[in-house]
Amino acid sequence: MSGAEDNYRVSSDRPFLLVLAVLGGSYLFLIVAMVVADLIFLDYRDRPVFGPEIVEASRYPGDASGVKITLESSRRYYYQGGRNELGFRMGGNLIKKDGVFDAVEEEVLLVSETPEGAVTASFRPEVRVVDIQLHEGVATLRMDLPHGLLWGEFIRVRDSGSEFWDGVHEITDTTQDELSFVVGEQSKIVNALSLSRPNPLIQALRSRDIQFSIKLSLVSCTVTTLLSLWVAIPIGYLMSRFTFRGKAFVDTLLDIPVVLPPLVVGLSLLILFRYVPDWLSDAVVYKWPAVVLAQFMVACAFAVRTMRVTFDQIPHRYEQVALTLGCNRQQAFWRVVLPQARGGVLAAGTLAWARALGEFGPILVFAGATRQKTEVLPTSAFLELQAGRTEGMLAVSLIMIATAALVFVVARTFGMKRIFS
């Protein structure tokens, strides 16, 4: 009874499983953390409109006395500490946090970290509305300080008699301390008390440029997806079912768009279109067809891969049976193979759509970044970043995340379960 087996022990599976869980879990954590960080970073509250900087350039004195800043009491200010500041002293308290505060004294004291360093903190007063004029449906507000808002930005105003904000208005005209906007018919503004800027998400969604880019993104991605499937299904089927000379070479060619840097794809397209007739080049380059073509070149390669794998996984046996039952190859394809490839077609379509939505480099090179013309969502994000509006970029990113999520949910409901579960 007692053989060698009695002393033989297998070490526990637990360490192995633990390593798998840790490796997989860390990636999952990063995915979730990334998206959640985007969502919580964005400040969804309205923010007041602030006037110009009031701290003058100077240096801290050598002793520990600090620098006096004169404020207007009972006005709100925005404080942002610099790299030399500990904070500021107001009413006996040392305030260190950046943000909005109500001034309770005429004078506050900036406290430095390093004596004789430069003053790098910033105080900006909230802008107040001092006058409102309504003339033929246009409201013109006068402010007591320069507001720094630009034409095309959005604001909210609140009537002195009301608790609630009165809609979102697009600024149609500005001067240094005045701004105008069109008042809707339902609007009941009589005398505006306060002014605020809506959060970046509303700013982005209300912007006509970004509305256009959302529309162009949705339309171009859908067109790209349909074109990709139109090409990927035949190529995938051919590559899966037939052998011919040079097949390995064709296979490599099909992978070029996957491995090529996207920017190079755009540049190559641009150069290619120097050799086509002028009418064609004029119709495509720097116009919306260029957006679709640039997206198509990259997205289609992924769709082709997916379709190839899909057809590879469907046994030849079904087609062979269909052939003996009286089909020719075309009938066998439509009636027997394609219905089974449905899940793969959906996966390829979704993949192509998602790739197309994120495509940026080739579009920038081949279609340009013209507002209201070739601007897609990644372009919008890029333009926001260029204009120094990180929050605007984030808002556009959130719109992209939401769109992509929506497409995946729709695709899943239409039968992706077979692939993902």
């Binding site: 046996r317 052939l323 003996t324 009636r335 089974q340």
Partner: protein, 217 residues
Amino acid sequence: MIAVDNLSIRQGDFLLEGVSLELSDGEYGVLMGRSGCGKTTVLEAICGLRPIIGGRILLGGRDVSVLPPAERGIGYVPQDGALFPDMPVWEQLAFSMLIRKMPKSQVEARVRELAKDLGITHLLERLPVGLSGGERQRVALGRALAVKPRFLCMDEPLSALDEDILEEICELFTQTIKKENVTALHITHSKAEAARLGDTLFHLVGGQLQKVGPNEE
């Protein structure tokens, strides 16, 4: 009549040469041999699913060597049934008739007749998923016989079945095949199955086909 005359087939590095076989009308032939000896290759060549490099295939006296499978008038029952995964049973049975655009009433009548003969009337609305091995093979046989082909090729149709229903299915197959009056070629590696089913036995050994002779029980 199924006649295979000096057939040569290449499959990769595997070469099968000089295969000859003859079955007269209404005969039930069984082709035996070990796994990997080329039985399936021969069967596929007869059905037109595999190109041949030499010899001839005659079905009812007609040379079909280069005809596409659809024009050979041959029913095919593959090893695992290979039922189309997203078609209900009735559509599988009707498939070959719908392809030929036969009138609807005729299609319905034939589907009902086949379902009754094969005992699968209660399964007509079901999808293949969840059918038992025996049920799948009945559907596969019905699908192959739907347009009344004169010839039938079966590739180990019964090898995946449980021992206890084998008897019943064998009986059903022979009955149905006799009733439909087809010339059948059945391949198997099971001696018991061969003894039970065939009129004539062939043995494929080392690339050579030998007629073992009429099956005498």
